[in-house]
Subunit: 194 residues, 2 copies
DNA sequence: CGAGGTTCCGTAACGCCGTTACGAAGGTAT
DNA sequence: ATACCTTCGTAACGGCGTTACGGAACCTCG
């Protein structure tokens, strides 16, 4: 007896996909509920019934962004050399960010109204598990210190920091970023060597 | 014969000060031209005649933020040990960011509509001169490599990255951030040792 | 097969925002 | 005193996120 729902899971994914496209092509400022709904051929109400509002939509994008990052990091095949693996993870991290800078901005840019809750930060941490695994393996092999979490924070810090500086345009335009990035990663890794 | 100006330099600084206060107390989302003008006792027109619009106001805050950061970094007294100086600079950097997180967000968060122009990025680079000086001194002393700019990027990356992660709430709440931060800084520095 | 009822969703309104055009305000020179 | 020129506050415009509401769509039952 009820009217059948058109605000269903399919529409949810279409909204999420289009939101990601808008974000990638025109930036975060251009991501408005009105434009999004019009593009998908529905009304803004859909976003409220399917997500709950704009912050909740951003949250969904946040989760998706970390999911993609985690997938890319998991795809890095271990070589047996923890230091080398660490560098490769860092490069994969940067590739992931450069592949969709605006999505990276969702993860760390801090959108107005959205604060990651516990589940969201758990998703973020889960994406970095390959990093923890490599560092823990290095610790077991005796090349890294036993303070796995401390070292993981340092490594996450440097990859995030460099990528963030690059995306903000804070690096000199004539710099060979890829090479300098890798050099900085290796220096940092060797500093943690036991 | 003209009506005397009330949109003068004094009003400009009052607007800038209040904008900084609003930013610090209520965040970037609460910084609206209407509220700002009302607080200062003028109209939104003042912002347009004195700055040129909201992005230009944000630009002024951006310049001010990097000016303050530069002042704090310059206040770090060299010890003669470049590695130690590097750590102290990193701690001063974090202190500066924690002193006003929202102002730090202006520098790297990327506000909608504002892209730093050449002069703004020059101001940003100038603030980091103490970092370059210490690294160059270390290179002259033979403890750091000759690739000063590469190493500077790495060092900026790790301090910015860790501070950024902390401000985003991406670090575990039970972590002793100050100690871990310093540990990561020292590891990174020692990795650059020649 | 049509009427009723229940659920659902698009429209439209509200209060914000940044931006801009315009008319009133105010001091100066005649 | 009046005319004029600069300056600034008011108000309007389009767009935003959000929400209340009324009509639309379907199933069920007579």
């Amino acid at each position: 007896m009820p009217r059948p729902k058109t605000h269903d899971e399919a529409l949810r994914t279409r909204l999420l996909d289009r939101a990601g496209e808008l974000l990638s092509s025109e930036g975060a400022a251009a991501l408005s509920l009105r434009k999004l709904a019009a593009d998908v051929g529905t009304s803004t109400t859909a976003v409220y019934s399917l997500f709950g509002g704009k912050p909740a939509l951003v949250r969904a994008l946040y989760m998706e962004a970390f999911r993609r990052l985690g997938t890319r990091l998991q795809a890095v095949q271990p070589t047996g050399d923890p230091a080398e693996d660490l560098t490769r993870l860092g490069i994969a991290y940067r590739d992931s960010a450069l592949a969709d800078p605006h999505l990276y901005g969702i993860m760390f840019g801090g959108h107005p109204g959205f604060e990651p809750d516990e589940e969201a930060t758990a998703q973020a941490r889960a994406a970095l598990e390959p990093l923890l695994n490599v560092i823990a393996a290095g610790a077991r092999a005796g090349v890294f210190p036993d303070t796995t979490h401390t070292m993981a924070m340092g490594c996450w810090g440097i990859v995030h920091g460099l990528v963030s500086l690059e995306l903000c345009g804070n690096l000199p335009p004539d710099m060979d970023v890829a090479a300098t990035y890798e050099r900085a990663l290796r220096a940092n890794t060797s500093g943690w060597r036991r």
